[in-house]
């Protein structure tokens, strides 16, 4: 084991744990989650419409000489869909601008992945050489939320470029719509999280989570650390945070181009929107980008309003408290176990939000474009702005 000692050197330790975390987020969480959410999209939409959805593709056991192919409730579809997309002919129209046509799908896919770098997805697993626990976030940067907004809005470049490079009217209109929509909702999005910063006093996402563990989730401010306690002045914050949350949530729908705000891809008006001219893997990358954006968005919502990876009464990876009490009776449970639980809690919350995204998609009809603009500029912008002052007033006058 001596030969592995170099792994404990601070720099080397930082490097390999970071690589490990990156690989886990990318291949252990996001790609499976994208597949799963595409499958969930089909299945949930089917159930909502009283259908069955994909239920045939299972394991191809008969190829291996078994009698029957187990259908596994259609879970094979998760594998079959990507294979189908990979094997399809990649048809590239002659008149496109090749360079931008090629990079556009990649540009929509990368920003959501970058956003995930700053989202804390768990407490900690290991203890570093300096005795500090390793945070389960790839990059624990202080400008967390600003970075999220800066990077996530880059996704629109891919869409606009795809629309423009396709050299076709409908994709172009889709791209234009997407950019104006993104600008309109970015404002509301930014303003609606300002109350979060006012309350927590930080924009570092990990610290926001820590604050929520100590003081209760922002949307449900009852803390259980060191016994259940609740402060009366925060009662006034509940409706305000509710408004903030709703505006953030709806703007997130608009940012990720999900129904009811999926105007860039309205097939009734725009044939198929910005990805009309794309086939096979190019199209699949747009798809991947949309779902990754949805996952990243859910991650941000969970982190900002729903206490991130924390669940009341469940300790973090350092395992110094349990059931809200500083307690060493439970110290025989290794911290890594709780670290594992925390990661699962985070992804369970994210999955719940993905389900919500899908649920809304199959419920609410698409907005008209002027309605979308009116909602963004006339209602959300003003309400979010007023909300900031209200929260500030509460903090100044009611907070003891």
């Amino acid at each position: 084991m001596d030969s592995l000692n170099f792994l404990q050197q601070p720099i080397v330790f930082l490097v390999w744990t970071s690589i490990l975390k990156t690989l886990f987020v990318l291949f252990g969480a996001i790609l499976p989650l994208v597949s799963l959410s595409v499958f969930a999209e089909r299945k949930v939409s089917a159930f909502i419409q009283d259908r069955l959805g994909p239920n045939r593709v299972g394991a191809p056991a008969s190829l291996l000489g078994f009698k029957k192919d187990p259908h596994l409730w259609g879970f094979g579809q998760m594998v079959a869909d990507p294979i189908k997309l990979l094997l399809k002919e990649n048809f590239i129209p002659n008149s496109v601008n090749k360079f931008y046509y090629y990079i556009a799908p990649k540009l929509t896919m990368i920003p959501p992945l970058l956003v995930l770098a700053v989202i804390p997805f768990g407490s900690s697993f290991l203890t570093g050489p300096d005795g500090k626990p390793v945070q389960m976030v790839i990059a624990n940067i202080d400008v967390g939320v600003l970075y999220v907004f800066a990077v996530s809005s880059l996704g629109v470049y891919g869409i606009v470029l795809a629309g423009w490079a396709s050299n076709s009217k409908y994709p172009f209109l889709g791209g234009i719509r997407s950019s104006s929509q993104m600008i309109s909702y970015e404002l509301a999005l930014g303003l609606s999280v300002v109350p979060v910063f006012l309350i927590c006093g930080t924009i570092n996402l990990s610290q926001i989570v820590d604050w929520q563990i100590k003081n209760g989730w922002l949307i449900f401010p009852i803390s259980v650390v060191g016994g259940v306690h609740f402060e009366w002045w925060r009662l006034a914050l509940i409706p305000l945070m509710g408004i903030s949350f709703i505006i953030f949530l709806v703007s997130m729908f608009a940012e990720t181009n999900r129904t009811p705000f999926d105007l860039p891809e309205a097939e009734q008006e725009l044939v198929g929107g910005y990805h009309t001219e794309y086939s096979s893997m190019g199209f699949a990358l747009f798809f991947l980008g949309e779902y990754a954006a949805m996952i990243a968005g859910s991650g941000v919502i969970v982190t900002l309003f729903f206490g991130g990876w924390s669940l009341p009464w469940i300790p973090d990876g350092t395992s110094t408290w349990l059931f809200g009490l500083e307690n060493h009776v439970w110290s025989w449970v290794p911290g890594a176990f709780w670290g594992f639980v925390n990661i699962n809690v985070f992804f369970a919350k994210v999955c719940a939000f993905i389900f919500f995204f899908i649920w809304v998609r199959w419920t609410v009809p698409r907005f008209r474009y002027d309605q979308l603009m009116r909602l963004g500029w006339i209602y959300f912008f003003e309400i979010a702005l007023a909300n900031i002052f209200l929260v500030a007033a509460v903090l100044v006058y009611l907070k003891p």
Binding site: I48, D50, R51, I246, W359, V360, T363
Partner: protein
């Protein structure tokens, strides 16, 4: 005179839009759980078929029928070939040899092909046939991997058509 349609007066709850969205969400989630409990409206298509639910007058694939003695009713008059709007039918007539049991009739089809990619299920062939030999039966699931497979030949047509006993006089009430 122009017709003025009054815009409906909306209450605050309706203007807020959110209550309606919540109502919609409740509705869809109810359907979701109902389906999750196994109550779906779907029919498992290739295993379950429409067959017994088809109306009596359903016009499916055109087929040739034989009578109760196994005689080919078709006499190769080629009227159906002539009337067929998309020209889906191709008939190669043949003389019936004198030694045959049915030698009284002169002709029969040597080959009789209906291209099911072209057929529009109009039923004109059925209407025009003087011998009541061609009928649109109930088969509707006609699929194939190639164009060649979609051409129904004589054997296939008789297989689909089966036997239609008795004299079917299509112009009287019995039809």
């Amino acid at each position: 005179m122009a017709l003025v349609v009054q815009r409906p007066k909306l209450s605050l709850a309706e203007k807020l839009y959110l209550p309606a969205v919540l109502g919609g969400l409740m509705l869809t989630i109810r359907h979701f759980f109902k389906s999750l409990g196994g109550k779906t409206e779907t029919m498992q298509y290739p295993e379950q078929k429409w067959d017994d639910k088809l109306p009596e007058w359903y016009r499916g694939a055109p087929t040739l029928v034989a009578d109760e003695w196994g005689r080919e009713r078709c006499v190769s008059c080629q009227l159906c070939e002539f009337i067929c709007p998309p020209r889906a039918i191709t008939i190669t007539p043949e003389e019936i040899p004198r030694t045959d049991v049915w030698a009284k009739v002169e002709k029969r089809p040597k080959e009789f092909e209906i291209d099911m990619i072209r057929c529009i299920y109009c039923g004109l062939c059925e209407e025009v046939c003087p011998e009541q030999a061609i009928f649109l039966r109930k088969d509707y699931a006609i699929t194939g991997y190639s164009r060649a497979e979609m051409k129904h030949n004589k054997a296939k047509l008789y297989e689909l058509g089966g036997v239609m006993p008795d004299v079917i006089n299509k112009w009287n009430d019995q039809k």
